[in-house]
Point group: C2
Chain length 357, copies 2
């Protein structure tokens, strides 16, 4: 393992300067600090202090997600992470990052600079610069709703989509719905694919026919609904499952705009149970991801990983929250309608074929 | 929450006697202790002492599995569990149980009697009496390689079968194998079904044709091989994946008995990396489940669950261990052969159809 002396020799500077660069000393330039950190990572230097359990600090990196407002998705997750860390006597540093920041700073340099032992990454997408670096990183790291193959230092935490969708489909099947549509989040996101698979699996398990024009990828925003809901309704869907609560809000608005009542004409179920869910009209039946517990779970997973347990994934139980957006099915006849280019049939044909028999 | 006084009143006995019954006092009959424990469970009594983190004792219940010999499957698992528990300052009580013991003693009574906060169950099958009781138990419990739906107090730990089988199939595909058979463990076991799905998924992902007569359920013992290996070889299989290392031992013996060399004629890959794997002739290429880390993982999962984190499943990374039981494929012509009644086509048709397109 490299020492501070190795870094100093490699850069031709004093040990004291290296120490300032590694430990956040003020009187060196940012350019030099950057070079010191990059060299430390290249040589495999590890800060002994961060290895001791009693001094441990964990990082939470957040991209593209609000976490300061109490009704934001990130708030509970960060709170839960802090709670579990406090039980172990560990510190937590929360650092919002952008793709540009990731391009300019290597993941391991930032970890070294902040003297953190492990990290939890929230809101990242698989195309982010740091994700590529995680494929070979030795830093214990947990991702929310994303996974990196093979590397035993990188784990994934999330909520069990299979159990969640099975609760939702069971509820609708008991209300005699048969034409149940699913408006998922973005194609190409790992979590969208897991939820699509969970929907198809549960429909098949309940003996319900899968219509690929009712199984569609959108985006994780309310606006996605207006492109797909008219088609669902034309095809006679009596219920619409949604990839998250924001999509469900868009679906309800769109149904209303088209003259359909929720739940009398169309039942709607969300996913997440964000604070907005109970404030919608009608209040939204949804699958709760307990965000505080997700945050705790990330911290316990990191604890196991720092004890050399190579966790691949740790999934939490979802909770079915019944409110007022579902009712007994009111079947309607289907009308002719153009095919939806975002159907699972076109966007993920392998997944579709697996359940289409 | 019920108190000792409630139990005493319900049974018409003294508080002192109830206390003896709950705390292992010697001078009361086993019949009375049994009644006291059962009543305590019925009334929802909780031992306050076991709730305090500093006094915590965890139970490991083992059924049908050796754990005392160093080369046994259970040894490393129990060792890892003890190691992680010691880091938290918790005690561990290891209790071997039989189905008959489970019939005679309720799960929660045994937990109460042993003053344990949570438990890890190894080697149980879904037909065991305690599994039914777990559906509604409030005791934090982790199962190895089995799961119980819905109840947030019951988690499942294991090794990521998808990643494991993908490593094995990738290795064989790189050696130009196309007819890759899979001899799984028992039909109806959750872990067998997960491994079968992982095999089918990986074959499909590698663009390899799935022959349902090469995807077969057996038993988790070496003897299973002789019923299925002759058929695999007649059908021209050049490689055989196995549900565990014991099955792989049987497969190798059977190939030899039929005049085939391993790996020159047939490549064989196991699962688990038991100590016997490296002693086989040839030494077995296999997918390692790190048993010490599995045991640790169960303990960390229990820790999270006692902090109200409802872990549904926590899976570890497998490790591909390359030894000498695989070689470049040597294709053979298939001969006519009877269908195997244990094929996935007959034993699990839904799973087969999902991957058969």
């Amino acid at each position: 393992m490299a020492t501070i002396r190795d870094i100093a020799e490699k850069l031709g500077i004093s040990i004291g300067t290296v120490s300032k660069g590694l430990n956040g000393g003020m009187d060196i330039s940012e350019t030099l600090r950057h070079r010191i950190l990059e060299t430390a990572v290249e040589l495999g230097y590890e800060n002994g202090r961060t290895k001791k359990a009693e001094h441990r600090t964990l990082a939470v990196f957040i991209e593209n997600m609000d976490y300061e407002a109490e009704d934001s998705f990130g708030y509970g997750i960060v709170l839960g992470f802090r709670k579990a860390a406090r039980r172990q006597g560990w510190g937590v540093t929360v650092i919002p990052v952008t793709p540009q920041f990731q391009q300019e700073h290597r993941y391991e340099s930032v970890m070294l600079q902040n003297q953190c032992t492990g990290a939890f990454l929230i809101g990242f997408s698989l195309s982010d610069p740091w994700i590529e670096q995680l494929r070979s990183s030795p830093v214990p790291t947990v991702l929310l709703d994303n996974s990196v193959p093979i590397n035993p230092m990188i784990g994934y935490v999330g909520t069990d989509s299979d159990e969640g969708f099975d609760m939702a489909v069971s509820h609708l099947a008991a209300l005699r719905h048969e034409k149940i549509a699913f408006l998922d989040g973005s194609a190409g996101s790992m979590i969208s694919d897991r939820r699509m698979a969970a929907y198809l699996h549960s429909m098949a398990g309940h003996g319900l026919r899968i219509d690929p024009q009712l199984a569609v990828y959108g985006y994780f925003v309310a606006d996605a609904a207006r492109h797909h809901v008219p088609g669902f309704l034309s095809r006679g869907a009596t219920a619409i499952l949604c990839g998250n609560d924001l999509i469900a809000k868009g679906v309800i608005d769109c149904c209303h705009a088209l003259g359909y009542s929720v739940p009398e004409d169309v039942s709607v179920i969300g996913f997440d149970d964000l604070p907005i869910a109970e404030k919608l009209d009608p209040p939204l039946t949804t699958i709760r991801q307990n965000r505080v517990e997700l945050g705790k779970s990330a911290c316990y997973t990191l604890q196991a990983m720092t004890d050399h347990v190579p966790v691949s994934m740790s999934l939490l139980r979802p909770v079915f929250i019944e409110r007022a957006s579902c009712a007994i099915a009111k079947p309607r006849l289907a009308e002719p309608c153009e095919n939806d280019p975002d159907s699972v049939l076109y966007r993920n044909p392998d997944l579709y074929q697996r359940y289409s028999h």
